[in-house]
């Protein structure tokens, strides 16, 4: 390119000077092309998103523009100036488009998350809105609860749902408790006995009180959520009826629990434990 075009520039210059400088209109055109390319490049070169999405294209737009600027000093370079100005603009457009694509891609990812959330909510809402709601809940409750030989259906809220030595129900219990409330609302005849238990560490009387307070905390939550207090019995058994060895921390944690004993469909509860 270099020797050839230099020679051509000289030749063209000579020719033009002889023929009479008809190139003025073209010169303006080249200037215009250069100016447009310059403006476009300036609009993208400091755009951080364009730079991040298409660094190479921005670089090439700049190089082509520089080339066009260098050539614009020479007489008879109109075509080359226009050419490099055009290339610079195309690179700049490509860079802009890539930046746009990146921005769309981000939007798509956010929208997908939103869509998934809504789909999930809709599935649950449909499930709850149909007649099977009661049955679904019953299945859920049964899957959470176990069948006890003496007492019937028993749901255990373990120590994880209470802080050590405290009776307040932790937020982690909300899901289970909410299901319990819904279940009781769908099964208006059923009643429950809420039984608190402790491990064998510490004072017997204190353990008895703590176990009762924990059972009461669960009952209070149910009442707060609209369950009739008459359908609830609250008992504290202290360290009686352990379900694991009190010799290990793991066993003691299992023993600190609240058990929900369900009545049958017509409200008959198993007798209290003795």
């Amino acid at each position: 390119m270099s020797t050839c075009s230099v020679r051509r520039i000289i030749v063209t210059g000579a020719l033009l000077s002889v023929v009479g400088l008809t190139g003025c209109a073209h010169y303006t055109e080249a200037e215009q092309a250069l100016q447009q390319a310059d403006e476009l490049f300036n609009s993208i070169k400091d755009d951080s998103q364009v730079l991040a999405s298409a660094p190479k294209d921005v670089l090439r737009a700049g190089e082509s523009l520089q080339r066009a600027e260098q050539l614009s000093g020479y007489l008879g370079s109109t075509e080359d100036v226009q050419h490099f100005a055009y290339l610079s603009q195309q690179y700049a457009h490509i860079a802009q488009e890539r930046s746009q694509i990146a921005s769309y891609q981000q939007q798509i990812e956010q929208l997908r998350i939103q869509r998934e959330r809504l789909q999930l909510a809709l599935r649950e809402a449909r499930l709850m809105s149909v007649q099977q709601q009661g049955q679904w809940l019953e299945e859920q409750m049964i899957s959470l609860a176990t069948q006890d030989a003496e007492r019937g259906l028993v749901l255990t809220l373990n120590d994880m749902l209470f802080d050590s030595g405290r009776a307040d129900l932790k937020p982690a219990a909300n899901r289970t408790v909410l299901k319990l409330v819904q279940f009781l609302q769908m099964n208006g005849q059923r009643t429950v006995r809420i039984e608190g238990y402790s491990d064998s560490d510490g004072d017997v009387q204190e353990n008895l009180q703590l176990s009762k307070d924990r059972a009461q905390a669960v009952a209070d939550t149910l009442v707060d959520l609209g369950v009739d207090v008459k359908r609830l019995q609250v008992m504290g058994y202290g360290d009686a009826f352990p379900i694991a060895e009190n010799a290990t921390e793991r066993g003691r944690a299992q023993n600190r629990r609240v058990e929900i004993v369900f009545s049958d469909e017509v409200g008959r509860l198993a007798p209290e434990r003795e």
Binding site: C4, L15, V18, Q90, Q100, I108, L118
Partner: protein
């Protein structure tokens, strides 16, 4: 006057000699055609008209042995094709945004009805 004519003539000869050293832009044309093909596989047919017109001009210039013009047109056509490719991709992404947005609106509507 005669001097001038001689000068013009000799300049024209020089000009032709200068151009003759511009090689046929075979490699550039190959790259350009490849760029157009790639854009086509990305579904950019709707955006490829400028590239195809420029390529045609390049081929015509090549046939006329105006290698310089052939190279310039081929270089333009290559970038036209690369732009077409990203335009097509951008358009696809824009449609995807619109599609998911519409789905979300429908889901919201359904969720509102079922509650």
């Amino acid at each position: 006057m005669l001097v001038k004519q001689v000068f013009i003539l000799s300049s024209a000869v020089l000009w032709l000699a200068g151009c003759a050293t511009d090689p046929a832009p075979i490699e550039q044309l190959r790259i350009t055609e490849q760029a157009i093909e790639q854009a086509q596989t990305m579904g950019a047919d709707d955006f490829l008209q400028p590239a195809q017109i420029a390529l045609q001009k390049a081929q015509e210039a090549l046939a006329a042995e105006d290698y310089r013009a052939a190279r310039l047109y081929a270089e333009r056509a290559e970038l036209d094709a690369r732009l077409a490719e990203v335009q097509a991709l951008s358009s696809m992404k824009r449609n995807k945004v619109a599609e998911i947005t519409a789905q979300i609106q429908r889901l919201r509507l359904q969720l509102g009805e079922s509650q």
